[in-house]
Amino acid sequence: MKLSKKGMYYRIFARSASTALILAFIFPPAILLFLPILALVGAYEYLYWQNFEFEFEEGDLKITSGVITKNKLDIPVRRIQDIDVNKNIVHRIFEIAQVNVKTAGGSTSKASLKYLDEEEAEKIKRKLRELKNRREKQEESESQDIPVSGSQEEGETFYEISDSIWTYSFVTGASSVVFISLLLFMGAIGYSSYVATSTSQLVGYIIIGFVLALIGSTFVFITSSLSVFLDFYDFKVVKRGDIFEYEKGLLNKKGGSLPEEKIQKLEITENFLMRRLGYASLKAETAGYETGEEDTTTSTKTLIPLDSKEKVYEHARQIGELDINQMNNISNKAHKRYRHRYFALSTVGLAMAISLSLIGAHPVIIALPIAGFLVSGKASTLKWDNMGYSLGKENLLVMNGFWTRRTYIAPYFRFQNLITSETIFQRRWSLATITVDTAGDKVVNPRIIDLDRNHAHQLDNKLFDKFQNSIY
């Protein structure tokens, strides 16, 4: 099969325009070269199009491509992890789409079909998924011929964003504003007191600083809420058989899929603002993995961008056999440890502020570390309050973070290793951290931080038992 001809025109247009623009940027008269560039790019793209061929042979996707060097790519269907269909606004005008095929073998064995007609792209996606399902079913039943039904069945809507998109955009914008404006306003005070020589000058600088901070915050609010609005408009997850398929986007349409059996753990995220308003979001994390390969790749996909907490938990329950108990607190000593930590940080800040004021900054700068001292008690309580864990029947829940609180839901049977560690700072308090290593990247492992040392070792054994029971 061939790529779309419209896609070829688009490539010629996009490539020659961008090349010409870059050249013109470096050397403006180069814009005159647009026509020769167009001819060159056009010739190349035509050859590319002519040499690009893809085929489904015995259920495998075979791609032959290359103008100068010929490449042959052969992707066994059962190794396909994910098939995406993406189109940006210009693609949509041309009615073309890009199909990406991801396999477990990492980035080298990834294929992109640039570009296909919109309808054709959907058809190919369907076909690949169908082939993949059939292949998997065949393997399960030792290659007996069974009819494919699962793949064609009508999917049921798992989640649809509808009007929540407005809340989602607003909350996203508002939460980024809180972060940014906190920094900007503090920066305004700090910088003004650093450069001001008299109090009246200081007041003037601070006013200017605040106005700038206000403009900056408004800008941040508009851009961040607009970007999620455009990205998640019309967000929809459909469950077809065992596969979640999602679609989203106002201008740029994106879509992809996520097999339920590949989900390693779920993540419920609530930032400080969402907690206030009773919202949460749900993500699923998968690990691509094939026997005999050392590396696993993790991808996190959003299942619910934002909705009421009840609804998010209700949907999470549908995926895992989830039971949510009351969260257990981490060690009480940890609370004290955080208070000490913030106190120490404020002390360092105070020392820095005093030295700055000695070399000429306005003494007002000392207000910043003083504020730090005042909030350190409250901050440690908030940090501690938002940490916890809970052992359910089938899964472990681990919660952490004040600004953005993440609750990981990891089924026991997904555990890979258990690691208990004590850093040198924790040992002073006889505290320990349990890391639950699941397949995938290191960054997203659930960690139960700052447990009492003895308790940590007990819990470690308990978790190991739960793991054993879930396996056998």
Binding site: T291, E294, Q416, I419, S421, N445
Partner: protein
């Protein structure tokens, strides 16, 4: 709990003295240039290698592992302590490694791979060649035995 071969301690101490001396020499040169006090320079030169050597000494003392019925337990760490549990069901494959230094001393290290991400913690250094090979076989057998059709993820 099983310990590592005594020889690895000497390897660790020697390596830390060599690396420490290089860092120490650089620091000593800088202090000599800035302060010019011979005593401080000498102390600067000695501080790093001796601290690293002490660390290496205790590193050995704190290294334990045990081959349990259904999992491998690894404990190590001087300043920060790590204790890892690797269930055999999850083991993908097991490597033994013998670098040039290890070969001359008849040592080997063993690495257990899982689909998890904390690979660095699943390495046992300073085993005798014989023990490493024996363990590789043993763990492999246990991994196969415990697998019963699980794919490891």
């Amino acid at each position: 709990m099983e310990r590592l071969e005594q020889k690895i301690r000497s390897v660790w101490i020697t390596t830390s003295i060599i690396i420490g001396s290089i860092i120490g020499a650089v620091l000593a040169l800088i202090t000599q240039f800035i302060l010019g006090i011979t005593l401080v320079t000498i102390l600067m030169f000695l501080a790093f290698p001796s601290l690293l050597a002490i660390h290496a000494y205790y590193r050995y003392n704190n290294w334990f592992f045990k081959v349990h019925e259904d999992h491998l337990e690894i404990n190590h760490g001087v300043l920060s302590k790590v204790s890892a549990v690797v269930p055999y069901v999850r083991v993908q494959h097991i490597d033994t490694n013998r670098g040039p230094i290890e070969r001359t001393l008849g040592l080997a290290s063993l690495r257990v791979y899982t689909a998890g991400s904390r690979g660095a913690d699943m390495r046992i250094p300073g085993l005798s060649k014989k023990r490493a090979e024996e363990m590789q076989e043993e763990l492999k057998a246990k991994a196969i035995e415990s697998e019963q059709g699980f794919d490891g993820v």
